[in-house]
Each structure stands twice: as structure tokens, then as C-alpha cells.
């Protein structure tokens, strides 16, 4: 589908958790390439390791072994501080429960990641307005999360995710807490980000309708990754 070089390269990735003296393997020898501009959906039953894999790609968790290159950077070799800085510039996050800061307005929530970029106030405001235009929420920018519907909150979260123009967007069950209409809005928006803005999205979902929007669907089962094309669904 896409002849561009992979923007995410994962090789021989292992991850396990400890529960007392017990070691629980979660990811087992995962290797995966995601090309720039691709929309990848990760599916699988609960506990299959989808979110863990997403967290590792996004640099918010550490693998036991293996390598993850994102945009040419081996993020498994970065320190916590370096990872935090890398995340601020290269990853946009969309969560199931939106995770907006309730005491900040939509505008301020979207502006948050820009505070780490060193941009001037005026530049930050320009970026925030553009991001809110993309998600069609400029008329709600002074509203607090509590004054917005679930779908609107998720659109604010998407604006926050794209405002720094990150290398990849990671979305963990972004429609899991939304009604059908709002979910369709959010998925349509994500499709637009891929098709119109060339964003690379990695989506974790249980929802086959959401996964259908992706170019590639991969299934994780007991820590092992299997690829499917759209016709398998």
C-alpha cells in the first residue's frame, strides 16, 4: 500500500510483568514495521498485551529486551528524562477517557504540550487555534472539560495530540467511552488525520468497526502478533 520507509521498527521485543515471584510474559518476540502515514489497528482479547505494546512504542514503558526505533531513534536506549523530552516532541496520545485536565479550558488543555517546546506565547496560540480548527472546536475553546460532551472532549484530546505535529499518534480505545455517533465522528477525524495530514496512527481497539478504518489490522494473542488484512474482518 505504502512504499515509504518504516517510521516504527520493532525487533525481537519481549516484555513481562512480575507479580511477586511470578513472572508473567506479556509480549513474546514481537517484530513489526509501521510505515509513515499508515493507520494500524491492534486488536486482541483483554490481557493480550495490546496496550503494553502501544505503551512501549510511545515510550511510556520499558521493554525487557529488543529494540524499538521510531523515526530513526532507538527509544529503548533513552533515559527517562530523554524519553520524556522525546515523547513531548514525537508522540501524540489519545486515551479512552480523554484524560483532559478538568481545571483547564479546552484551549489550555491543547496548549499544555506546547509549554515544553519553547515556542512563544503567540506561536503557541496560533498552533492551538489550528489544532482546534482541525477538530472543529474553535467555538468551544474557552469551555472546561466538564462543560463538553464525551465526543467533544475526545476531539479536544485529539487536538492536544496533534498540536505539536508529532511523528506518531497512539490511540488507546479512543471510542471505548463514546456513543455510536460520537465514535463515528472521532474515527472520521482520525481518518482525516491520516489521509489529509499524513499522520501515522497506531490504534488499540476492541471495536471491529473502529479497526475497519485502519489500513492494517494486527491481532495480538497471548503476546504473539498476527497480521490480518481488512477482508478477514
Amino acid at each position: 500500500m505504502n512504499q515509504k520507509p518504516p517510521i516504527v521498527e520493532i525487533r525481537s521485543l519481549y516484555k513481562s510483568y512480575r507479580r511477586g515471584s511470578q513472572v508473567i510474559p506479556v509480549l513474546n518476540d514481537i517484530s513489526l514495521d509501521i510505515k509513515e502515514g499508515e493507520f494500524l489497528a491492534l486488536m486482541g482479547p483483554s490481557g493480550s498485551g495490546k496496550t503494553t505494546l502501544l505503551n512501549l512504542i510511545a515510550g511510556i514503558d520499558k521493554a525487557d529486551s529488543g529494540t524499538i526505533h521510531v523515526g530513526g531513534v532507538d527509544i529503548t536506549s533513552l533515559s527517562e528524562t530523554e524519553l520524556a523530552h522525546w515523547r513531548a516532541l514525537h508522540v501524540g496520545f489519545i486515551f479512552q477517557f480523554y484524560n483532559l485536565i478538568p481545571v483547564l479550558t479546552a484551549f489550555e488543555n491543547v496548549e499544555l504540550p506546547l509549554l515544553l517546546t519553547g515556542l512563544s506565547k503567540r506561536k503557541r496560540q496560533e498552533h492551538v487555534r489550528v489544532a482546534l480548527q482541525v477538530v472543529n472546536l474553535t467555538d468551544r475553546m474557552e469551555h472546561y472539560p466538564g462543560q463538553l460532551s464525551g465526543g467533544q472532549q475526545q476531539r479536544v484530546a485529539i487536538a492536544r495530540a496533534i498540536v505539536t505535529d508529532p511523528t506518531i499518534l497512539v490511540a488507546d480505545e479512543p471510542t471505548g467511552d463514546l456513543d455510536r455517533i460520537s465514535a463515528n465522528d472521532v474515527l472520521g477525524l482520525m481518518e482525516r488525520l491520516v489521509h489529509e495530514l499524513g499522520k501515522t496512527i497506531i490504534l488499540v481497539t476492541h471495536d471491529p468497526r473502529a479497526a475497519k478504518k485502519a489500513h492494517i489490522i494486527m491481532h495480538l494473542d497471548k503476546g504473539v502478533l498476527n497480521a490480518h488484512n481488512q477482508t478477514d474482518l
Partner: protein
Amino acid sequence: MHIIKLIYKNAFRHKLRTSLTILGVAIAILAFGLLRTVISTWYLGVETASASRLVTRNAVSLVFPLPLAYKEKIRQIDGVKGISYGTWFGGIYIDEKHFFANYAVEPKTYLAMFPEIILSPDQKAAVFRDRKGAVAGRKLAERYGWKLGDIITLKGTIFPGNWDFVLRGIYKGRDENVDETAFLFHWEYLNEALKKAGRSWADQVGWYMIEITHPDLAADVSVRIDKTFKNSLAETLTETEKAFTLSFISMTEAIVIAIQLVSFVIIFIILAVVANTMAMTARERIGEYAILKTLGFGGFHVSGLIFGESIFITMLGASLGILLTFPAAKIFSKELSTYFPVFNIERETIVMDIVASFFVGFVAALFPTWTAVKIRIADGLRRIG
């Protein structure tokens, strides 16, 4: 924004909890401030004592007198600039509840030696003229509504009988730390009565106040005075006014230590209250801190939010407490003027209030910050929803 705005907005997310915490801190700081003022008032005499004044008393005890004849001998000692003397009268006005310090002094030399006692020249002259004349501090006169010319009767305890005095002067303190509740009258008036009655205290004084030419001579002059009266019937003990006052305070040191301990206990109690508030706050927001970390904010930012909020709440409570301390001290001073003639909040007390509040705010944030910074992002995110 941003961090400061977020700190402010976070602080008032739970208005009731924050308000109660602020109120708790305010009350604690108020109590702390009042207790520290009690302690500083206790030591007030020490602070206001002059380095150029010595006190000579009977070496056995203050309850034993010294002969008046020592006066001239002391005056001739090198380094002595002036001498005065006095006797504790211990008279009661109305009843025991209406306590105030009252002494018989030699007024000319005494007032000359205490420039911190301000008396108008007219009143001074009137006091000197009238052997029954007395001087009262401004606060004492206000307390009982005394006016110049009023007859004030004290009932003697050490020197029995009813003693009438005519109020000829009302003094003010040069500084706010000067006791304005003392009552002074002519030693001569007391002595004449004692002579007539044939009492043993006639021609005897309770203590000598000695002004020296230079503070550096205090030790030498003290030794010389005591040496002069060595092996006499009434040996002397001479010390600086500060040491003399401290010897009084040392008798009540246990009370001062107890008050000091209570004041620090108050700080630890409020530390527990603020720490509890901050622990609850941080636990509730652990998901948000994880989000901030996910977005690239580091431990420094998360620490700043928690420390900032804790210190902000504590300092807000402290400010309220400090503001309340002043009217509370006024009420305290009015109600307990018998025991605390001067009850002024010192700058050091305010500084201690601020330092203690900052300490509370800082320490209360330590554990929540440690928890928020240490938690793995993935674990923090799992707590949301």
C-alpha cells in the same frame, strides 16, 4: 498559564477541603504566634535590660535587705556613675486579683537612671515635691481610670496597713516594650513609716540599682562592689540587670519550656493536617500526573505542582493566621494585662510563623511528591476511568 495558574486552580478544586485546611493552618499559626509572643514577653525584661545597669542585692536572698549605708560606699567605687535603690512593696489594690508591680524607689535618681520611663517635667516635679506622690504606668492608670491627683490606697502585705498615695505622674514607655503597668512611690515615705513603727526594715533597701560608666566594666565593678562588703553582716551579690532578670525567669523556666513544647506540637499537628490533605490530593490526581508525564512533563514539573499547591495552601492559611494574631493579641493583652504588662507581637514571631508555615508546606508535600514522581506512567494511567 501555567504552572502557577494550575497550582491556583488545583488548590481550589475541593473548596471545602481546602478551606478547612486553610482554616486549620490559620488557627494553628494564630495559636503558635500567641504562644511565641507569651514566650518573648516572658523574656521581655531581659531584652529591655540596660547593659550599663547593675543590680546589687543581698547575697543570701532578695527577701533580705541591704543597709542604706552601703549607698555612699558603692558610689565611691571606680566605674560607678550613679546609684539608686528600691524596695519591693507588694501592696494589694482592692484585692489579690488586681495585681500590679509596686515599688518604693528614690524617685530622682531612679527616673534619671531609667530614661525609658517618660514623664513630663511638670509631673516629675510634682512627684518630687509630694512625699506621698506616686507614679503609675499609662496602662495601669487606664485600667483603673486613675487621674492625676487621685488618692490610691494599697494594702500592705510585707508592710502591714493601708497606704495612701497621691497620683502625681503617669509615665509612658519610650519603646513599646517598656512595662507601663508599674506603680512607683517614694522610698522615703515607706522608710519614715517603718521608722515610726520601729520595724527592722527601716533604713534598709531591697536592692541597689547602679549605673556604670561603660558596659565593659560590668564584671569588674560587680566584683569590686561584692568585695567591699565581703564578710559584712549583709554580703552583696551584684550582677547585670539582664542576669538579675534572667534569675527571676529561671524560676519559671519549666513553664516557658512547656509553652515552647506546646507551640512546636501545634506545628506538628498542622503538619499532619496539611500532609493528609496533600496525600489525598495527590492520590486523587495520580492519573493526571501520569498524563502530564505522558505528555513529556518531568518529575520537576510534577513536584512543582504538588509543592506549589502545598506551600500555597499553607501560606494562605498562615497569612490569615498572622492577620488574626494582631486583634487576638490585643484582646489577649487586655484580658491578661495583669500577667503580661506588655504583649506585643514581635517581628521575630512573624518570621517564625512564616518559616514554620513554609516548613509545614514543604514537608507535607514530600511524600505525595515522591509517590507521584516515582509511579510508572503505565500504572498511573491504569488508575483512570
